[in-house]
C-alpha cells in the first residue's frame, strides 16, 4: 500500500482546532494555573465586595505571613504527590521539628542557628525513614505516614514535656516571620527578580535558537516577562505601603523557585515525574526508583520541618497544637486545588504557592467577616472536595481521550 496515502489521514486525525484545544487543556488540567488564577481573582473579588479591608495593604501583608508555613509544607507535599503518593505526617513532623528547635534553643541554650539546623535534620531524617519503610517493604505510603502522624504527635508531646508550651524569645528565630525590609530593599529585590527572570527567558531563547529549534515568539516571551514584571512591581508596591516586604515571603518564594527548578530542570526532577507517571517504565530505563522515593519523602520531611519553624516563629511559641488541626489537610489540599494531581506525574511547585494563596485567602476572608468556626470548617471542607473532584474529572477526561 502507498505510504503517503496511509500517513495523511492519521495526521489530520490528530489536528485539533486551537480554541477547542485550549478549552480541553483548561478542563483537563494542563492549564490549571490559569484556572487557579481565575479562581483566586473570584475569591478576592467576593471578599473585597463583602469587606473593603480585604484587599488593603495591611491585610494582604498579613495574608502573606499566614500562608508562609503552609506554603513551605506544601512544597514538599508537591514532590510526594508527583510520585502519586501521599504523606499524612507532614503536619505532625512540622510540629515536632518546631518543638525540637524550641527545646534546644530555649531549654538547652543552643544557638538559634544550630537549633534550626537540628530541627530541619529531624524532619529530613523522619522523611527518609518513612520513605525507606514505604519503598523497602512496599507498604502503602498512606499507612506508613498515618502511623507517622500518630507517632510524631506523641513525640511532640514528649519533647515539649510537662509544660506543654514553650515561648520563643530569641530574636533570630522570631525574626524569621517578623522581619520586614525597607522600601529600598524591596525595590532592589523586585529589580533582581525581574532582571533574573528576563535573563533566564533570554538565555533559554538564545540556546534554543542556537540549537536550531523553534522557540516562542518574541511577543509571547515579552508577554510572560511583562506579566512577571507587573506582578512583582504591584506586589512590592502593596507590601511597601504597609510594613515592607516580609522576610517570610522571601523565604517561601526562594524555596518555591528553587524546588521548582529542581523538579523541572534537573535529572532528579525528571525522574520524579517518571516514577510518578510509570514506575515500571522508570525502572526499566535504569532509574533507581526506590532511591527517588526515599529522597522525595526526605524532601517532604525537610520542607515540613522548615514550615513548622516558620509557623513557630510567627506564633512566637510552640505548643501541643503545633502542626495539628487542619494544617495537614490544607497543606495537601493547596497543591491539589492549584492543579497538582493526586494521581501522580502532573503538577508543579508553583501550585504549593498558588494553593496556599487560595486557601489562605478563604480563611483570611472568613476571619475578616467574623464567620463562625462551624461555617469555616464547612467551607474549607467544601473547597477541598471541589479540588479533588476537579482533579478526578480532569483525569477521567484525559483517560477518555486516551491519555492516562
Amino acid at each position: 500500500m502507498s505510504e503517503a496515502a496511509v500517513s495523511a489521514p492519521a495526521d489530520s486525525e490528530e489536528a485539533v482546532p486551537k480554541s477547542k484545544e485550549t478549552l480541553r487543556r483548561l478542563v483537563q488540567g494542563d492549564l490549571a494555573s490559569l484556572r487557579v488564577v481565575i479562581g483566586l481573582a473570584l475569591i478576592w473579588a467576593i471578599f473585597q465586595f463583602e469587606n473593603d479591608r480585604f484587599l488593603s495593604a495591611q491585610n494582604l501583608t498579613n495574608l502573606m505571613l499566614q500562608i508562609t508555613a503552609i506554603g513551605l509544607i506544601s512544597v514538599g507535599v508537591v514532590y510526594v504527590l508527583l510520585l502519586g503518593e501521599i504523606d499524612l505526617s507532614v503536619g505532625a513532623v512540622s510540629g515536632l521539628a518546631a518543638a525540637v528547635m524550641a527545646v534546644l534553643n530555649v531549654k538547652h541554650g543552643w544557638s538559634p542557628y544550630l537549633a534550626i539546623v537540628a530541627a530541619v535534620a529531624v524532619g529530613m531524617a523522619i522523611g527518609l525513614l518513612q520513605g525507606s519503610l514505604f519503598s523497602r517493604f512496599v507498604v502503602p505510603s498512606f499507612v506508613v505516614t498515618l502511623a507517622g502522624l500518630l507517632a510524631w504527635q506523641g513525640a511532640l508531646l514528649q519533647v515539649l514535656g510537662s509544660t506543654g508550651s514553650i515561648n520563643l524569645t530569641d530574636p533570630k528565630i522570631t525574626g524569621l516571620a517578623n522581619t520586614f525590609y525597607s522600601d529600598a530593599a524591596g525595590w532592589i529585590f523586585a529589580a533582581i527578580v525581574i532582571g533574573v527572570y528576563g535573563a533566564v527567558l533570554f538565555l533559554g531563547h538564545r540556546r534554543r535558537v542556537a540549537a536550531g529549534l523553534d522557540s516562542e515568539s518574541f511577543a509571547r516571551l515579552g508577554l510572560r516577562f511583562g506579566l512577571v514584571a507587573v506582578v512583582t512591581i504591584v506586589a512590592v508596591t502593596v507590601l511597601n505601603s504597609d510594613r515592607g516586604v516580609p522576610l517570610a515571603l522571601m523565604i517561601l518564594l526562594a524555596f518555591v523557585v528553587g524546588m521548582e527548578y529542581v523538579v523541572k530542570r534537573t535529572g532528579f526532577g525528571r525522574h520524579v515525574f517518571a516514577v510518578g507517571g510509570n514506575a515500571e517504565a522508570a525502572r526499566r530505563a535504569g532509574i533507581r526508583v526506590n532511591r527517588i522515593r526515599v529522597a522525595v519523602f526526605g524532601i517532604a520531611g525537610t520542607m515540613a520541618a522548615i514550615g513548622g519553624i516558620m509557623a513557630a516563629s510567627r506564633l512566637l511559641a510552640v505548643n501541643q497544637n503545633s502542626g495539628g488541626n487542619e494544617l495537614l489537610l490544607l497543606a495537601i489540599a493547596g497543591p491539589v486545588i492549584a492543579g497538582t494531581s493526586l494521581f501522580g506525574g502532573r503538577g508543579s511547585v508553583w501550585t504549593a504557592l498558588m494553593g496556599a494563596l487560595v486557601i489562605g485567602s478563604i480563611s483570611n476572608g472568613m476571619d475578616l467577616l467574623a464567620l463562625s468556626s462551624a461555617v469555616k470548617f464547612m467551607v474549607t471542607g467544601g473547597v477541598l472536595l471541589l479540588a479533588v473532584l476537579v482533579d478526578a474529572i480532569a483525569r477521567q477526561q484525559r483517560q477518555g481521550s486516551g491519555r492516562v
Binding site: 496511509v6 492519521a10 540549537a211 522508570a282 535504569g286 486516551g402
Partner: protein
C-alpha cells in the same frame, strides 16, 4: 539476505522453568540488515527466546555468539552493552512526559551550566537530537513537546522504537509491535521497521499477525512447544506453510533447513 556471518547467533539454547521445557535446543540467527519474523502459538517460547537474548533470564544451555564472538548474556545490561535493544509490548513509556523526555529517560543530557553551578537538563540539545533521530527514521510526530499519552498507538510504538535506537544498538528485538494498532498505524510501524533494516540493523519481530510478518520479514522463524519448528524465506513461502508449522498440523514436508522434526509428546 544473509551476507556473511550472523550478527547474533544462538546455538542449542535451552531454558527450563521447573518441569516446563520453555526452549529446547533452539538455533537462531539474525544478520545485519535482516528482519526475522519470530512466530509461534501462545506458549511456543517466543517470549522466552526474546527474554533470553535480552538478558532477562539467562539460558540454561547453549552458546550465544555476537559478531562471531561467544558471549554470555546474564542480565539486561549485558545485552544493552553488546548492542541489543528490546522494545516490549507495553512500550514502557511515561505518558505524562513529552517525547523528548521519554526518549532520554534515564540518560538525560546535562549541561554543565555556568562554572558547573547551574547544572541542568540540556533540553535544547536533547530536543535537537530527538528531532534528528526521528527525521532519520522518517517518523513524524506533531510536536516533540506533546505528552506521549496524547499520541496515537502507532506514534507511541515509533517513539519506543526510536528510544531503543539512542543506545546505537546493532540488533533490535520488537515484541508484538503491531498488536492493537489500526491499519494506518500498523503501516507506519512497518515502514519504520524497514527503515531499521535499511540502516543495517538486525531486527527480530515477534508477532501473532502473519500478514504483518509477511509484509516486513525476510525470514520467518517458527517456534512450537519450545522447539524450532521451521524456518522460511518470506519471499518463497505461503501463509499456509507457516501456519502448519505453527500448529504442527499439515504437510511436514514443507519445512526447510536444520529441522529435527520430532513428533509431539
Amino acid at each position: 539476505m544473509s551476507n556473511g556471518a550472523p550478527l547474533l547467533e544462538l546455538e542449542g539454547v535451552s531454558k527450563r522453568f521447573g518441569p516446563v521445557q520453555a526452549l529446547d535446543r533452539v538455533d537462531f540467527a539474525v544478520h545485519a540488515g535482516e528482519v526475522v519474523g519470530l512466530v509461534g502459538d501462545n506458549g511456543a517460547g517466543k517470549s522466552t527466546l526474546v527474554k533470553t537474548i535480552a538478558g532477562i533470564h539467562g539460558a540454561d544451555e547453549g552458546t550465544i555468539r555476537f559478531e562471531a564472538q561467544e558471549v554470555s548474556i546474564a542480565k539486561p545490561q549485558d545485552a544493552t552493552e553488546l548492542g541489543i535493544a528490546t522494545v516490549y509490548q507495553d512500550l514502557a513509556l511515561c505518558d505524562n512526559l513529552d517525547v523528548v523526555a521519554n526518549l532520554f529517560l534515564g540518560r538525560e543530557e546535562v549541561s554543565p551550566g555556568t562554572g558547573g553551578v547551574s547544572r541542568q537538563l540540556d533540553e535544547a540539545r536533547m530536543e535537537h537530537q530527538t528531532s534528528q533521530l526521528l527525521s532519520n527514521l522518517a517518523v513524524t510526530i506533531p510536536s516533540l513537546r506533546s505528552e506521549v499519552g496524547t499520541l496515537s498507538g502507532g506514534q507511541r510504538q515509533q517513539v519506543a522504537v526510536a528510544r531503543s535506537l539512542l543506545g546505537e544498538p546493532k540488533v533490535v528485538l520488537l515484541d508484538e509491535p503491531t498488536a492493537a494498532l489500526g491499519v494506518a498505524q500498523t503501516a507506519q510501524v512497518l515502514k519504520l521497521i524497514r527503515r531499521l533494516r535499511e540502516q543495517d540493523l538486525g531486527v527480530v519481530v515477534i508477532s501473532h499477525n502473519l500478514v504483518d510478518v509477511f509484509e516486513v520479514a525476510d525470514r520467518i522463524f517458527v517456534l512450537r512447544l519450545g522447539r524450532a519448528a521451521g524456518e522460511f524465506d518470506a519471499e518463497a513461502t505461503t501463509e499456509e506453510h507457516v501456519v502448519s508449522a505453527i500448529t504442527g498440523v499439515g504437510s511436514e514436508g514443507e519445512k526447510r533447513n536444520g529441522e529435527t522434526g520430532e513428533g509431539r509428546g
